[in-house]
Amino acid sequence: MENATQHSDPHYDQEASKLGMWLFIFTELLLFGGLFLVYSIYRFLNPEAFRLAGEELNLTIGAINTVILLVSSMTIAMSTSALQKKNKGLTIFLLEVTIMLALIFLINKYFEWGVKFDHGIWPGSQHLINDMSKGEILFFGLYFVMTGLHALHIIVGMIIIIVALNKVQKGTVHADRPSLLENAGLYWHLVDLIWIFLFPLFYLIH
């Protein structure tokens, strides 16, 4: 009887929902893990070509994007605290900031890739095939696939955060039912986690 008054919805299980999200995160980690392994092996086999190709990348944009992602991770983490403290206005504000930071990250990425395209570097480009060594072709192939897949995760993360934001606004996600926002947060931190390893591996080769 007591339980019936405490829980408004018997189908809601916060722990199970969290566990499910973590299982999904593990599949994502191993997906990127496989790509990191491919990268490590090819770098081990072509150290000089990877160093040479890595110098083409813009360290400043990479560092700025790292800081942007770290700050956005903090804002979404803060938004879950704000939701638990029943501060709806602050929750929404922090989520909006997170979405804005994600957008800035993508805009930087657009310019970064744009510069590469201007230099004739994209997967299968004539410049890449004719003038570069096998190791450099591998480096840029991995660079576009891995940062591209990561950017795709940023876009998906933004959509999930927008959905969570709408539900917070409507009041269906609240302090007693925070799973959607918490899982959106977990997904966003995963995106951050992957970038923490992408950044030094591609931008910090010397």
């Binding site: 566990l19 980690l29 986690l193 923490i196 390893f197 910090l204």
Partner: protein, 94 residues
């Protein structure tokens, strides 16, 4: 009970973690600027590992979650290192 299980992390804790993460980022940029040969990759990877532990523990709330999730994260990390180690053994002794 429910309240105890659901720990609310103060905003300032998240801010301190962010400062630590940004500091570590610039330290990893710094260490690769110094010419350490093969060790600079190792250095950068150590910084990244510390950063990922901070993100997992605080941002992803592993510190406050049930031990099962921590155990599973550790298992997945171990699995990945095992796969990497075995693959490198193969390539190294070819």
């Amino acid at each position: 009970m429910e309240k105890e299980k659901h720990h609310i992390v103060p905003y300032k804790v998240y801010f301190y973690i962010l400062i630590a993460l940004i500091t570590l980022t610039f330290m990893s940029i710094g260490i690769t600027k110094i010419n350490l040969g093969g060790y600079s990759v190792l250095g950068a990877m150590i910084f990244s590992t510390i950063k990922s532990v901070l993100v997992l523990t605080w941002f992803m709330h592993l510190k406050f979650d049930q031990p099962l999730i921590r155990f599973m994260v550790g298992f997945v990390a171990l699995l990945f290192f095992a796969i990497t180690f075995i693959t490198f053994l193969d390539y190294y002794f070819r």
